[in-house]
C-alpha cells in the first residue's frame, strides 16, 4: 500500500506526459495525412492554432482588441448600453461620451430653453413592478451585486398623444402608448425561452408591441399577454391552406384573438429579400402546427406572394383583409427602387386604398439567416430610406393615412429620436431585444447553435436562458428607451417625443460642417418655388 503511495505521483505525472505526447502524435499524423487543408498538411498541429483563433476571432476582438466604438454590427458600447439598460435600468455615465465626434452623424438640436420635467406630457399614473440589479461592491475581478425589487414609472404617452393605427379605417384601431416595439422575430428562429421572456417582458412594460415574424403566432408569443402584430410572409405561415393558399377562415380566427392588434404583410425585410427556407428536420410537430405545414418536410417559401403582383392587387388584398379581420393592416418594405416607391404612393392616392402602416426596414437590418450579398447590398439603410418614404407620402398627400414604423439598428434612445425626427411615427427593434435576453453577438444565428440560447431551438442550449430573469431585462430595456426619449424631447424643447421633426436634428459631416436635415427629394423646381415664397413673405 505504502509502495503504491510512493509511486502514484510518478505514475500520474508520467501518464499525463505520455497522454499529451500520444495525443499530439495522433493529431500530427491526422493533420499530415488529411487532404482538405493545405496549411495543416504543411504545418501539422501548429496550423490548428490558426483555425482555432480564426473561429473565436469575433469574441477575441470584441473582448480584447477592439476599442469601445469599434465592432460590427454593434460596437461594444452599443451592446453595453442595451445590457445595462436591461440589467441595472441605468443610463447615467460619468466623464463624458465615448461617441466618435469626428465621424459624420446626426445630432439633436438642443433648445436654449429646454422643457422642465414637470412640463413633459408623460402618463406615469400606472406603476410597474420589476427587478433590477444593484451593485454593492465592484472589485477588479469580482462584482458583488444583487437583484432587487423595484417599482418604476412606465413613461407612457398621454392618451391624446398616443399613436393610433387605422383610426379612420378599422373597426378595431390599434392605440399605442409608447413608440418602441419589438420587430419581427419568429418562433423557430428564436427558441421558446427567448420568445417567452420577450413576451412577458413586453407584456409587463405595456405600451409596446411584439411582432411575431412570419413564422406564425405561437403560444409563446401570447404567453406574456403583450399587444401583438402578426406578420404574414409569402409562406403564409399560420394562415395557409394545406395547398399553400391564403386561408381566410384561419385568418379571421387569428384576427379574433384579442391580443392580436394588427397584421403586417411582409413584402421584404432588411436581412433577406428572398423567400424563407426551413430544413425538414427543424419542422417539428409543434412548429408544423403553428405554421400550418406538414411536419418533417422542408419548406421553401416563395420570394413573393402568389396573391398579388402589383400595388393595385396588393391594396385590394389589404382591403379584404381589413374587412374580414377588422384590424389594421400594414406592409413591410425595404426601399431600393424609388420608382416603385413612387408608384406605390401614387396608387395609394389614386385608389384611395392602401395600408394602415408601412414598416420601413433599413438594409442594415436583420436577425435572420440570410445570404451575405443580400444583407450587404440590397436596400437602402434606414436613415436614407425613411425620409424618402416620408416625403413621397407627403408628395402624394397620403402621409396622414399611414403610420411609418422604422427599423434598422435603432437600439438607443438617441437613435430612436433621430428616426422619429426623420419621419418615423414608431420604431421597431429586433437585435436590441435579443441582446436584452442574453445575445452575445456570436453571429451564428443561422446554425441553431447560439451559445446564449437565444437564436436556437436546442433545448440544451436554451437551459442557459432563464425566462424569469430575462423578462425583467426586456421590460427595463424598453421602459428605459421610453424614458430616454422623454429626456431628449425635453432637451429639444418639446414636451413629448411624438413631436420630433426634422428641425430638431442636424447632420454633421466628417469635416465638422453642420447642415440642417432638409428634404432629400427636393427638385430644382421645388427649390425655386420655395425661394419665391420666401421672397413674397419678406
Amino acid at each position: 500500500m505504502s509502495k503504491l503511495k510512493n509511486y502514484l505521483p510518478t505514475v500520474l505525472k508520467g501518464s499525463a506526459v505520455l497522454g499529451t505526447v500520444a495525443a499530439a502524435a495522433y493529431f500530427y499524423r491526422k493533420d499530415d495525412t488529411q487532404k482538405q487543408h493545405s496549411i495543416l498538411r504543411n504545418f501539422p498541429l501548429i496550423g490548428r492554432i490558426r483555425y482555432m483563433t480564426e473561429q473565436i476571432g469575433p469574441e477575441l476582438r470584441q473582448y480584447l482588441f477592439e476599442n469601445n466604438n469599434e465592432g460590427t454590427p454593434f460596437s461594444r458600447k452599443e451592446f453595453e448600453d442595451v445590457v445595462k439598460a436591461g440589467k441595472y435600468k441605468e443610463r447615467l455615465i460619468g466623464f463624458g461620451s465615448e461617441r466618435d465626434f469626428n465621424e459624420a452623424g446626426y445630432y439633436i438640436r438642443n433648445s436654449m430653453f429646454p422643457n422642465l420635467r414637470e412640463e413633459l406630457r408623460i402618463d406615469n399614473s400606472q406603476k410597474i413592478n420589476t427587478k433590477v440589479y444593484e451593485v454593492d461592491e465592484e472589485g477588479l475581478l469580482t462584482r458583488k451585486e444583487k437583484r432587487e425589487d423595484r417599482q418604476i414609472e412606465p413613461y407612457f404617452l398621454r392618451d391624446e398623444d398616443a399613436v393610433i393605427i387605422g383610426g379612420e379605417t378599422c373597426r378595431n384601431p390599434f392605440k399605442l402608448k409608447g413608440l418602441v416595439g419589438q420587430s419581427a422575430m419568429s418562433y423557430g428562429a428564436l427558441g421558446e425561452n427567448a420568445i417567452t421572456a420577450l413576451s412577458r417582458g413586453l407584456g409587463l412594460a405595456g405600451g409596446t408591441w411584439m411582432n411575431t415574424g412570419e413564422g406564425g403566432l405561437s403560444k409563446y408569443h401570447l404567453s406574456g399577454n403583450p399587444d401583438i402584430m402578426m406578420q404574414i410572409g409569402p409562406g403564409l405561415f399560420g394562415v395557409r391552406t394545406p395547398g399553400g393558399e391564403f386561408f381566410w377562415e384561419e385568418f379571421k380566427k387569428k384576427s379574433e384573438i384579442e391580443q392580436v392588434k394588427a397584421f403586417e404583410i411582409k413584402l421584404a425585410q432588411g436581412a433577406k429579400i428572398r423567400g424563407g427556407h426551413i430544413e425538414g428536420q427543424k419542422v417539428t410537430e409543434e412548429i408544423a402546427q403553428i405554421r400550418l405545414v406538414e411536419p418533417g418536410q422542408t419548406i421553401n417559401s416563395p420570394n413573393r406572394f402568389y396573391e398579388f403582383r402589383n400595388f393595385n392587387e396588393l391594396f385590394e388584398f389589404v382591403e379584404r383583409m381589413r374587412d374580414v379581420g377588422g384590424k389594421p393592416i400594414g406592409i413591410k418594405i425595404v426601399v431600393g427602387d424609388l420608382d416603385a416607391l413612387e408608384e406605390m404612393t401614387k396608387t395609394m392616392r389614386d385608389t384611395g386604398k392602401g395600408p394602415d402602416f408601412i414598416t420601413v426596414d433599413g438594409g442594415e437590418g436583420g436577425t435572420g439567416a440570410t445570404y451575405q450579398e443580400l444583407a450587404d447590398a440590397v436596400g437602402l439603410p434606414i436613415m436614407s430610406a425613411l425620409p424618402l418614404v416620408d416625403e413621397m407620402l407627403k408628395k402624394y398627400g397620403v402621409r396622414n393615412r399611414v403610420k411609418l414604423i422604422a427599423s434598422g439598428k435603432l437600439t438607443s434612445p438617441d437613435k430612436v429620436a433621430v428616426a422619429l425626427a426623420m419621419g418615423a411615427d414608431l420604431v421597431n427593434i429586433a437585435r436590441g431585444f435579443m441582446i436584452s435576453v442574453g445575445c452575445i453577438m456570436a453571429e451564428i444565428c443561422h446554425t441553431n447553435h447560439c451559445p446564449a440560447g437565444v437564436a436556437t431551438t436546442d433545448s440544451k442550449l436554451q437551459e442557459g436562458l432563464v425566462i424569469e430573469e430575462k423578462q425583467y431585462r426586456v421590460a427595463n430595456y424598453v421602459i428605459s428607451l421610453r424614458e430616454g426619449l422623454f429626456n431628449l424631447a425635453a432637451a429639444a424643447g418639446i414636451d413629448t417625443p411624438t413631436k420630433f421633426e426634422r428641425k430638431h436634428i442636424v447632420h454633421k459631416d466628417e469635416w465638422g460642417r453642420v447642415s440642417p436635415v432638409r428634404d432629400i427629394t427636393l427638385t430644382p423646381e421645388k427649390v425655386e418655388k420655395l425661394r419665391n415664397k420666401e421672397k413674397v413673405e419678406k
Partner: protein, 209 residues
C-alpha cells in the same frame, strides 16, 4: 370621505390618491402645475386643485380630511429650492382649521437614528410642525417613516412608538397604504408613531397601536 392629498408630486402621493379612490373615498389632489391634472384624474382623483389656477387655502373647502406628505409638498421636489417645506405644513394646519377640516394625517420622513424613539432631537424644525398640529383641535395622526424606496409594496410593516430593528426603508406603496388606512382607524387617532417595513399586516399593525 372627501380627502385632500398634499404632496402628490412623488410616487407615494400618487399611490395615496389611487388607494383612496380604490377605497371609495373622494380624493382631492393638490398639484403644483396644470400639467399634472390629467395624471391625477387617471389615478382616480375626484377633483384636482392646481396651484397655477387656484389659491392654496381654497383647496381645503369641503374636505373632511387631509393627508399631508411632507417629503414632497408642492413647494418642494425637483427644481424647487427647499427639500422639506415646513411652512406649508403650518399653513395647511391653519387652512384646515379655517375650513373646518376635522381629520389630519401627517407623514414625516425620519433619519435612521430618529427612528429609535419619539422624543429625540426635539429642536429639529420637523417637530415644530408636528407639535403645532397636536395643539390644534383636530383629530391628528403623525406618521414617521423610515426612508421611502421605489419598491413594490409588500403590505406588511412594523409600527410603534419606537422601532428597534429598523429595516431602514419602506416601500412607498406601503406608506400610502398606512396613510390611507390610518384615516379611519380609530386606534391611531391623536397618536404619533413610527413605521418601517416589517412582518405584520398593515391593518393589524395599526390596530395594535
Amino acid at each position: 370621505m372627501r380627502v385632500l392629498v398634499i404632496g402628490t408630486e412623488d410616487m407615494t402621493g400618487e399611490h395615496v390618491v389611487k388607494q383612496l379612490a380604490d377605497r371609495h373615498h373622494s380624493p382631492v389632489a393638490l398639484v403644483g402645475a396644470e400639467n399634472k391634472v390629467e395624471e391625477m384624474v387617471k389615478l382616480g382623483a375626484g377633483d384636482v386643485v392646481s396651484l397655477e389656477s387656484r389659491d392654496f387655502s381654497s383647496a381645503f373647502s369641503g374636505c373632511e380630511a387631509v393627508i399631508y406628505l411632507s417629503s414632497a409638498s408642492p413647494r418642494t421636489g425637483e427644481g424647487k429650492p427647499i427639500l422639506v417645506d415646513h411652512q406649508t405644513v403650518i399653513d395647511s394646519v391653519e387652512a384646515a382649521k379655517k375650513h373646518g377640516v376635522k381629520r389630519f394625517v401627517l407623514m414625516n420622513t425620519m433619519r435612521a437614528k430618529e427612528m429609535e424613539s419619539l422624543d429625540s432631537g426635539t429642536n429639529d424644525v420637523k417637530y415644530h410642525s408636528e407639535e403645532l398640529l397636536r395643539q390644534e383641535k383636530l383629530t391628528y395622526t403623525v406618521i414617521r417613516t423610515s426612508m421611502p424606496v421605489d419598491k413594490p409594496g409588500i403590505g406588511k410593516v412594523e409600527a410603534g412608538p419606537s422601532i428597534v430593528h429598523d429595516k431602514g426603508e419602506i416601500p412607498k406603496e406601503d406608506i400610502a397604504s398606512v396613510l390611507v388606512k390610518a384615516l379611519d382607524t380609530e386606534e391611531v387617532f391623536n397618536k404619533t408613531f413610527h413605521v418601517t417595513s416589517g412582518e405584520i399586516l398593515i391593518d393589524e399593525a395599526l390596530q395594535r397601536l
